[in-house]
Amino acid sequence: MIQNINKAFESRVRLGVMSVLMVNEKLDFNALKELLQLTDGNLASHLKALEKAGFIDVHKQFIGRKPNTQYMATQEGKKAFLAHLEALENLVKKSKKS
């Protein structure tokens, strides 16, 4: 029953990051921080984990002199997220029946 429930998405924050990256082509660190209302450190560690899993791509660039990091979901990340969502929905449906 727990199959397809992805370990990487057990954390609310990671699930949140993937949710907003599904509907936005790319977002920078500050936009993510504001949307999810997190501290720098907290968000950074979760982003690292998602990057390691291969679920997000990171692009570092400079806007003027300020460093700016853009994040976008990879194909693999999108697939994993959708599978996770489907698994969640199935769990809800199943437990409704029982």
Binding site: R12, L15, G16, S19, V20, M22, V23, N24, L27, A31, E34, L35, L36, L85, L88, E89, L91, V92, S95, K96, S98
Partner: protein
């Protein structure tokens, strides 16, 4: 089991809300629609008075739009309505965004504005060109149609009700193409009455009692 189910449901709800909040501009104030409608009606009343003021006899309604003075006055009137609507809209939306703790000028707002402006500018420039050539009657239908297209275009970046309003504006514009000469009436309906109606609808739906 029940508790778990509730947990999953919460998670799905949260995902949906995050997706919505991160891709749509939801600070748009319904009241700004109402105010824009009021300005439009006042502007239309002024235009009516300007056009028909020399119309003493109860014979034909001879509309004299040939005079450049009248045309300029009408353009000024329309621009005044547009400017007042935008300023009021900006003010009310800023107030709503502040209350919700959201920022006014974020990525969603930019998306909304840029995608609104593309059809709107196209329609505006086309109208000015046609006006220069003397095609006065086609201006009201054209502005309604292009405004409707602009609304349909931005509906994916804000409340979905905007799409419906856009479709009605397009239909109204097309109908007024057939009844050229009643442009002012259609204009007052499209920019005045419809704005007030949808502004109120959105105010009641999204704002009233939620502040």
């Amino acid at each position: 089991m029940m508790k778990q189910q509730q947990e999953y449901l919460n998670e799905i709800t949260e995902i949906r809300s995050l997706m919505e909040r991160s891709s749509r501009f939801l600070s748009l104030s319904g009241l700004s629609g109402v105010m824009a409608g009021v300005y439009a009606l006042l502007g239309a009343a002024f235009a009516y008075w300007t056009i028909y003021q020399n119309d003493y006899q109860l014979v034909y309604r001879r509309v004299d739009l040939g005079e450049t003075n009248t045309i300029n006055l009408l353009i000024l009137d329309a621009l005044l309505v547009l400017t007042l609507s935008l300023l009021t809209g900006l003010f009310l939306t800023h107030r709503k965004a502040k209350k919700a703790g959201a920022s006014l000028w974020d990525k969603q707002a930019r998306q909304l504005l840029i995608n609104l402006m593309i059809p709107l500018f196209t329609g505006g420039i086309l109208s000015l060109i046609l006006l220069q050539r003397g095609y006065v009657g086609i201006i009201a239908p054209l502005t309604l149609i292009f405004y409707g297209l602009a609304l349909v275009n931005v509906s994916k970046y804000t409340f979905t009700d905007v799409r419906q309003l856009g479709l009605i504006e397009i239909a109204l514009g097309l109908i007024s193409c057939v009844y050229i000469g009643y442009g002012l009436l259609f204009w007052a309906i499209g920019f005045g009455i419809l704005h007030i109606a949808y502004g109120l609808l959105m105010y009641v739906k999204y704002e009233k009692g939620k502040q």
